[in-house]
C-alpha cells in the first residue's frame, strides 16, 4: 500500500529543478544524473507536459519504494589517471573499430546487417569498464563495442564479423550475435527486448548462488543494454517488475539515441522520459547525459554499487546519439530535425572527454596520441588476423546445435554425418 500511496498524484511542485543542477549536490542520488538535455523543440513541449513529477517527487517515490535501501553517498568520483586513460582507450577502440567495420563492410568482408555504435561510446565505456570479469553484459544487435569494452579481444570480434573460425563464435554468430562465455558477454540479441529477460535471468543466478547455493561472495552484477525503442516493449516492463520484486542485481541501461531506425522516440512513446519507469516499478530511475562519459561513469558507479550490495536494480536512461544510420543498410533520411545531427556531433563524447582530460591535466596530448596510435594498430592487426584466418570447415555446419548431439546429425559410428560422402546429396540429408 505504501507503494501505491507514494505514486498517487501529488500537488504540482514548483518547476525550479528542471534547470541544470550541479552534479555533486546531496539532493541527487545519482551524481551524474541530469534531466535537462534534449534540446529539441518537440521535447520541450513534451517535457512541459510531463514535468509534473519533479525530482523531489521522484526521490520520494523511490525512497518509499525502496525504503529499506540505504544509499551510500558516492565518494571519490574523480578518475585516477590510469582509469581515465583506460576509459579513453576503450572509447577510441570502440570508434576506430566501428569505422573499420564500415570500411570492411563496403569491401564485402562482412555481410548482412552491421549496426555501428559511433557516438554512443560514453555509455559502453562509462559502464562496462567498471565491471569485473565475472559480471555479465547482455546486449542487442549493436553489440560489437559492448563486447570490446567487456574485454573480448578486437581480433576475435573482427574475425567473427568476417565469418572466420577464429571469431569469438567461430563465425556462427555474426555481427548481431556476439557471445563470450570467458568474458561473460551473454549475447548479441537481434530482436527488440529479447535480451532483457535473459539479462534478468543472469542477475537472478547471482542472487540464487548467494542465497540458495550459499556462495556468499557471489556479488556479480548484470548490465542489460538496450535502446529507446525497446522501452516500449512488454518484455522491458515485465522484467522491471520482476527485477524490483526480487531485488535482482541488474542495471537496465537504456541507450536512448532518440531514434528506432527512422521512428523518433517522441513519436513512439507516450512519455519520453524513460527513467520515470524505474520509480513506477519501485526502483530508482536516473537520466544521464550519455555523451558525457564522466557523468555516465558516476551514475554507473552508484548503480553497480547498489546492485553489488544487494540493494536491487536501477534503471538508467543515457541520452545519446548514433552518428551513423541504424545499420549500414539504412539510408538514414529521416533523422535530422533542427540540425539534430550537427548538434550531437558537436557533443562528440570522445572529443569532450579528451578536452576534459587535457584541461584537468589528467593526461597530455602526447599520451592521448599514443593511445590513438596504439588502437589503430590493434584494429589494423585485427583486420589482418581476421583476413588471414580460415573460413569454417564444412564439418562445422552441424556442430554446436546441441550440447549433446546424440540423435541429431551424428551417425551410429559417432561421426558427424556431414563427413559422410552422401552429405552433399541434398541439404536435407546432412
Amino acid at each position: 500500500m505504501g507503494l501505491a500511496r507514494a505514486i498517487q498524484p501529488l500537488p504540482l511542485p514548483p518547476l525550479a529543478d528542471s534547470r541544470p543542477k550541479p552534479t555533486a549536490t546531496a539532493s541527487s542520488l545519482f551524481l551524474g544524473s541530469t534531466r535537462t538535455l534534449r534540446p529539441s523543440n518537440t521535447f520541450a513541449r513534451t517535457h512541459t507536459r510531463t514535468r509534473s513529477i519533479s525530482s523531489a517527487q521522484r526521490r520520494s517515490a523511490v525512497a518509499a519504494n525502496v525504503s529499506d535501501v540505504k544509499l551510500k553517498p558516492a565518494t571519490n568520483l574523480l578518475l585516477t589517471k590510469e582509469e581515465a586513460l583506460e576509459v579513453y582507450e576503450d572509447m577510441i577502440l570502440g570508434r576506430v573499430f566501428e569505422d573499420m567495420c564500415a570500411q570492411m563492410y563496403y569491401r564485402g568482408k562482412m555481410f548482412g546487417f552491421v549496426h555501428l555504435y559511433n557516438g554512443q561510446e560514453a555509455v559502453s565505456s562509462g559502464f562496462i569498464k567498471l565491471l569485473k570479469k565475472e559480471d555479465s553484459v547482455v546486449s542487442t544487435y549493436r553489440d560489437h563495442v559492448h563486447a570490446l569494452s567487456k574485454g573480448v579481444p578486437a581480433r576475435a570480434v573482427m574475425s567473427e564479423l568476417f565469418g572466420k573460425t577464429t571469431g569469438c563464435c567461430r563465425g556462427q554468430g555474426g555481427s548481431m550475435h556476439m557471445f563470450s562465455s570467458e568474458y561473460n558477454v551473454l549475447g548479441g540479441f537481434a530482436f527488440i527486448g529479447e535480451g532483457i529477460p535473459v539479462a534478468t535471468g543472469a542477475a537472478f543466478t547471482s542472487k540464487y548462488k548467494r542465497e540458495v547455493l550459499k556462495e556468499a561472495d557471489c556479488d556479480h552484477v548484470t548490465l542489460a543494454f538496450f535502446g529507446d525503442g525497446t522501452a516500449n516493449n512488454g518484455q522491458f516492463f515485465e522484467c522491471l517488475n520482476m527485477a524490483a520484486l526480487w531485488k535482482l542485481p541488474i542495471i537496465f541501461v537504456v541507450e536512448n539515441n532518440l531514434w528506432a531506425i527512422g521512428m523518433s522516440h517522441l513519436r513512439a512513446t507516450s512519455d519520453p522520459e524513460i527513467w520515470k519507469k524505474g520509480p513506477a516499478f519501485g526502483m530508482p530511475g536516473v537520466h544521464v547525459d550519455g555523451m558525457d562519459v564522466l557523468k555516465v561513469r558516476e551514475v554507473a558507479q552508484e548503480a553497480i554499487g547498489r546492485a553489488r550490495r544487494g540493494e536491487g536494480p536501477t534503471l538508467v536512461e543515457c541520452e545519446t546519439y548514433r552518428f551513423r544510420g541504424h545499420s549500414l543498410a539504412d539510408p538514414d533520411e529521416l533523422r535530422d530535425p533542427g540540425d539534430e545531427k550537427a548538434r550531437y556531433a558537436a557533443r562528440d563524447p570522445i572529443t569532450q572527454f579528451k578536452k576534459h582530460l587535457i584541461e584537468s591535466k589528467l593526461a597530455n596530448e602526447a599520451e592521448l596520441k599514443a593511445i590513438e596510435k596504439k588502437i589503430e594498430e590493434v584494429v589494423e592487426e585485427a583486420v589482418e588476423f581476421a583476413d588471414a584466418s580460415p573460413a569454417p570447415s564444412r564439418s562445422q555446419l552441424l556442430e554446436n546445435v546441441f550440447a549433446d548431439p546424440r540423435g541429431f546429425g551424428i551417425g551410429p559410428d559417432g561421426r558427424y554425418r556431414c563427413e559422410d560422402p552422401k552429405f552433399t546429396e541434398g541439404t536435407a540429408q546432412v
Partner: protein, 378 residues
C-alpha cells in the same frame, strides 16, 4: 490467369492417362513463347506488385489499413508501403512502436469489429513476439465464437533466409504457420503471385499469413494486362504449374520456385523434363495439383528453405504417399534447409540452404541418373 488454366489441364491429364503427357509436351514451346512475349509487354518488381496491391485495396475499401514498424514516414523497412502514408494519411498507415505482441493483438481486435488490418512485420522473425495473437487470437476466434466472430486480417512481411544476418533473422516460417488450423498461409513467388494473392488475402474473411521474401522484392517479372487490372485476384489454395514436364515433379514456393525453374533448365539440357509446381498456398495445400502432377511424372522432389523435420516437404510427401503411392517410381526426395540454426559465415550459410545444384542432383537421383558427388563445400 494462364497459370491456373494450364494447371487445370495438367491436373486432368495426369489423372486420366499417361498418354496425354505427350500432349502436355507439345504445349511447352507455347508456354515459353508466352513468357517471352509477356516480358516484352511489361515488367514489374515484386515490391511494386505488393505496393500496388495494397494501394488498390486501400483505395477500394476504407476498412483496410496498414499497421507496423516504419510503414509510414520511413516508407517501409523494405519500401513495400512506399507512398501510402502520403496518400492515405497516418490514420490508415500507422507507425507503431516496437511492440509486435501489442500491435498484432490490436490488429485482431480491430478485425473483430470489421476492419481489415494489414499487419506488417518488419521480418517474419519478429512475428515470434506476436505468435500468441496470430495463433490464439486470430486463428481460433472464428471457431471459439462458433463462427460469430471472423478475423479478416493479413499478417505480412519478408520470410525465409536472408543473406548474412545470422540465426535469429534468417528462417522460414512456412512450416510453423502451415500447421495451424484457422490460418491461411500464402507464399508468393512472382509479381503476379504477389499482386493476386495479396489482394485475395486482404479481401478474405479469415486470417492470412502472407510470407514474402526479401531477396525477391527487387526482382522483376513479366505481368499481363490482366494481372495489372485492379480486380485481379488469385484463388487461395491453388498452386500454379510454372513449367510443364513429364519426367519429374518439383514442388517449391517463394524464392525456391526460381531455383527450381533454373534447375529444370539445367535438367532439360540433360534430357530430363521437369515439371515445376509453384505452391502459392501452403495452407490450404493444393493436393490435387501436386498429386495430378506426380501421377503424370511418377517422381517427386520437394524443395523448401525451412527446416526439414515436420516441414512442407514432409506434408507434401505424406499427401503423395496417401493419394498416389502406386504411381511413384522412385522414393520421394526432400530438399530443405539444413537442420541447424542459420550460420553467419558465408560458406556455412550457403551449405545450410538448398542450392540449384542440390535440386538438379536430387532430380537426377529420382530419375535414376548418376550424380557425381561434389567434395567441395562451396
Amino acid at each position: 490467369m494462364l497459370g491456373i488454366l494450364r494447371q487445370k489441364v495438367g491436373g486432368a491429364t495426369g489423372l486420366s492417362s499417361q498418354g496425354l503427357g505427350n500432349h502436355m509436351l507439345r504445349l511447352r514451346p507455347v508456354t515459353s513463347a508466352l513468357r517471352n512475349y509477356s516480358s516484352a509487354t511489361k515488367e514489374m518488381t515484386v515490391r511494386d506488385a505488393l505496393n500496388s496491391a495494397l494501394d488498390e485495396e486501400m483505395a477500394a475499401d476504407p476498412n483496410v489499413f496498414v499497421m507496423g514498424e516504419e510503414v509510414g514516414e520511413y516508407q517501409g523497412a523494405y519500401k513495400i508501403t512506399k507512398g501510402l502514408l502520403d496518400k492515405y494519411g497516418p490514420e490508415r498507415v500507422v507507425d507503431t512502436p516496437i511492440t509486435e505482441a501489442g500491435f498484432a493483438g490490436i490488429g485482431v481486435g480491430a478485425a473483430y469489429h470489421g476492419l481489415r488490418p494489414v499487419i506488417e512485420f518488419m521480418t517474419f522473425n519478429f512475428s515470434m513476439q506476436a505468435i500468441d495473437h496470430i495463433i490464439n487470437s486470430a486463428a481460433k476466434s472464428n471457431y471459439m465464437s462458433a463462427g460469430k466472430i471472423n478475423v479478416p486480417i493479413v499478417f505480412r512481411g519478408p520470410n525465409g533466409p536472408a543473406a548474412g544476418v545470422g540465426a535469429q533473422h534468417s528462417q522460414c516460417y512456412g512450416g510453423w504457420y502451415g500447421s495451424v488450423p484457422g490460418l491461411k498461409v500464402l507464399v508468393p513467388y512472382s509479381s503476379e503471385d504477389a499482386r493476386g494473392l495479396l489482394k485475395s488475402a486482404i479481401r478474405d474473411p479469415d486470417p492470412v499469413v502472407f510470407l514474402e521474401n526479401e531477396l525477391l522484392y527487387g526482382e522483376s517479372f513479366p505481368v499481363s494486362a490482366e494481372v495489372l487490372d485492379s480486380s485481379f485476384c488469385l484463388p487461395i489454395g491453388k498452386a500454379k504449374i510454372e513449367r510443364e514436364g513429364k519426367d519429374v515433379t518439383i514442388t517449391a514456393f517463394s524464392k525456391m520456385v526460381g531455383y527450381a525453374l533454373k534447375a529444370a533448365e539445367i535438367l532439360e539440357k540433360e534430357g530430363i523434363n521437369a515439371e515445376v509446381i509453384n505452391l502459392r498456398s501452403i495452407r490450404p495445400l493444393d493436393r490435387a495439383t501436386i498429386n495430378a502432377s506426380v501421377r503424370k511424372t511418377n517422381r517427386l522432389v520437394t524443395v523448401e528453405e525451412g527446416f526439414p523435420q515436420h516441414g512442407i516437404g514432409a506434408e507434401i510427401c505424406a499427401s503423395v504417399v496417401e493419394d498416389s503411392f502406386g504411381y511413384l517410381d522412385a522414393p520421394v526426395e526432400r530438399i530443405a534447409g539444413a537442420d541447424v540454426p542459420t550460420p553467419y559465415a558465408a560458406n556455412l550459410e550457403r551449405m545450410a540452404f538448398p542450392q540449384i545444384e542440390d535440386i538438379v542432383r536430387a532430380a537426377k537421383r529420382v530419375c535414376y541418373r548418376s550424380a557425381p558427388i561434389s567434395a567441395t563445400a562451396s
